[in-house]
């Protein structure tokens, strides 16, 4: 369980990035945090893991308040995958990179080997374990970063635009993997994204605009408010757009089968 209360953050004295933010995230949920570029969503991710310190407000992770004294304890529970894989590749090879976090956790060698093999396979990188980072594409480095974060078996994992460099097929694979781990292992997942299509698959959505939480709820309900999406500068993807067009058409909206079929189209992709 994550509890955020009256959080405020600014980089410089005049520029507020997060304004009086309060929300809860339930254990085992998959929550999307949505917002346009510059809405404060990546900053929020860094504040949640204690990489940046908020000027005021409180964050509780499983009832532990995040402070300078508890930050190490909190980081044992929360993992994060950043947007740019180049800034987080620390190993000489893919194998070393996935193992890096596990070694820091002092996990026995045998177990490390097992987990590296397992998670490399789950992200489709099992044939690249001996490769060096410069031999990999951006998307492949993102897969490695995701495997490294998942291998640590943290209670909560934050993905900050972690699929931005993958091709559509890759995004689909990673989405399914996230969903599977969330369902089977009960990890709490937070995905930070501007992609409404991606967020549709999560259980709950928080929409940020200019550092303010402007809406929260189930994606299937929240995304129906086209004006709100426009206000938060989120672009409505084509699948959702047609669904909304049909729902707003006086004649077509009576066709409940059609409305349902367009909705399931958005969910299955």
């Amino acid at each position: 369980m994550i509890k955020v209360r009256n959080l405020n953050f600014m980089y410089e004295e005049t520029k507020e990035v997060i304004k009086d933010l309060s929300f809860d995230i339930k254990k085992g949920a998959w929550v999307s945090i949505l917002g346009h570029n510059g809405s404060g969503k990546s900053t929020l991710a860094k504040v949640l893991v204690g990489l940046l310190k908020a000027q005021s407000g409180q964050i509780f992770i499983d009832d532990i308040e995040l402070t300078e004294n508890t930050v190490h304890e909190v980081r044992k529970k929360v993992g994060i995958v950043f947007q740019n894989p180049d800034n987080q590749f620390v190993g000489v090879t893919v194998r070393h990179d996935i193992a890096f976090g596990l070694e820091n956790m002092k996990i026995p060698q045998e177990e490390i080997v097992k987990r590296v093999d397992l998670y490399a396979r789950l992200v489709g990188m099992e044939d690249y374990l001996k490769k060096e980072p410069q031999q990999l594409s951006g998307g492949q480095k993102q897969r490695v970063a995701i495997a490294g974060a998942l291998a640590m078996h943290k209670d909560i994992i934050i993905f900050d635009e972690a699929t931005s460099m993958l091709d559509p097929e890759g995004v689909f694979e990673v989405t399914n993997l996230i969903r599977k781990l969330n369902k089977e292992q009960g990890q709490t997942i937070i995905t930070i994204t501007h992609d409404l299509e991606f967020a549709l698959k999560s259980d709950y959505a928080l929409i940020l605009s200019e550092g303010v939480l402007i809406k929260e709820g189930k994606p299937s309900e929240v995304f129906l408010e086209e004006d709100l999406l426009r206000q938060s500068k989120l672009t409505v993807p084509p699948g959702l757009k047609l669904y909304l067009d049909v729902k707003n058409d006086p004649k077509l909206k009576e066709q409940s089968e059609l409305v349902d079929a367009l909705w399931t189209f958005n969910l299955k992709k």
Binding site: H36, N37, G38, S137, G138, G139, S164, M165, D167, P168, E169, H194, D195, L196, K233, L234, T235, P237, P238, G239, K241, L242, D245, V246, D249, K251, L252, Q255, E257, L258, A261, L262, T264, F265, K268, K269
Partner: protein
């Protein structure tokens, strides 16, 4: 014909065997008026192909004629001028920004070519205006602006070389939906106003459907389709190309499968909506 590939192949030596990244490529491109999407799975040879367009890579078999320069050449010839005529924007071009301020960064490209170096400031300012970077930002560091703005500055750096042909390797990757639309509208404007040929690698079939006129499909280093986009999406062998359909066509298929609505070729979302209005009259 301004660019012509004749039976072009590109092979490289791996650890034990030879890999053929491109095989028997025949391709003709005009320097004006074309908007070509190059599509295909990861590893199909798209990036290798476009790097041949300005002589960054040279064919290991066959020949390419780029605006009168024939490659490979037996004699040692200069190919530098081709990099000015065919402007190549790499993936994530913002990673290549390096200067202390935005204007200097954009001036760097044109300062390298005799055709453009005397006008570098003029061309840089014109390009920055075109990509929507305000004059007040010229003296800013290119590392103190947003990711979307950084990409615009990087693209301005190529435009400032005043190329005849613009080649883009996944220009929208990593941008948010609004950023994607903005960047594509920018290229479309350049295409419409200056008639420059645009050649673009993309995975996004919605972008292909909206902007491209012609599509070249690569599969394992070979061209398996070269023609109009409408013909591609109605091609009976489409499933063998390992491509997605654009969203509006996938929706049509979904409605056909779930509700039994008769399939009809629609070019975009608006056509699909009017078709549905007709069906449910």
């Amino acid at each position: 014909m301004d660019i012509q590939f004749k039976e072009v192949g590109y092979a490289y030596q791996g650890f034990k065997k030879q890999y053929h990244a491109l095989k028997n490529i025949n391709l003709e491109i005009e320097k004006e008026g074309e908007f070509i999407a190059i599509v295909g799975q990861t590893g199909s040879g798209k990036s290798t192909l476009v790097q041949h367009l300005n002589a960054l890579m040279k064919p290991t078999s066959g020949t390419i004629n780029i605006l009168g320069t024939v490659l490979p050449s037996k004699k040692k010839i200069k190919v530098n001028h081709l990099r000015q005529k065919v402007g190549l924007v790499f993936q994530f071009p913002e990673y290549q920004l390096f200067e202390e301020n935005i204007l200097k960064d954009v001036e760097f490209g044109p300062s390298n070519f005799k055709e453009t170096k005397d006008h570098k400031t003029e061309y840089a300012k014109k390009s920055l205006k075109l990509v929507g970077i305000d004059e007040s930002l010229y003296e800013e560091s290119p590392f103190r602006i947003s990711g979307g703005q950084m990409r615009r500055v990087a693209i301005a750096g190529i435009l400032a070389m005043n190329p005849n042909i613009l080649v883009l390797d996944e220009p929208t990757r990593g941008l948010d939906p609004q950023g994607k639309d903005d960047i594509m509208d920018l290229f479309n404007e350049i295409h419409v106003q200056e008639h420059k040929t645009i050649i673009m690698i993309t995975h996004d079939m919605d972008i292909v459907a909206k902007y491209a006129k012609r599509v070249v499909v690569l599969n394992q280093g070979e061209i398996v389709f070269d023609g109009k986009k409408d013909d591609l999406f109605q091609h009976e062998d489409f499933h063998t190309f390992h491509l997605d359909y654009p969203t509006h066509m996938r929706m049509m298929n979904h409605l056909h499968e779930t509700l039994g609505i008769k399939k009809k070729f629609v070019k975009n979302q608006d056509e699909l909506l009017s078709y549905l209005k007709e069906v449910f009259k």
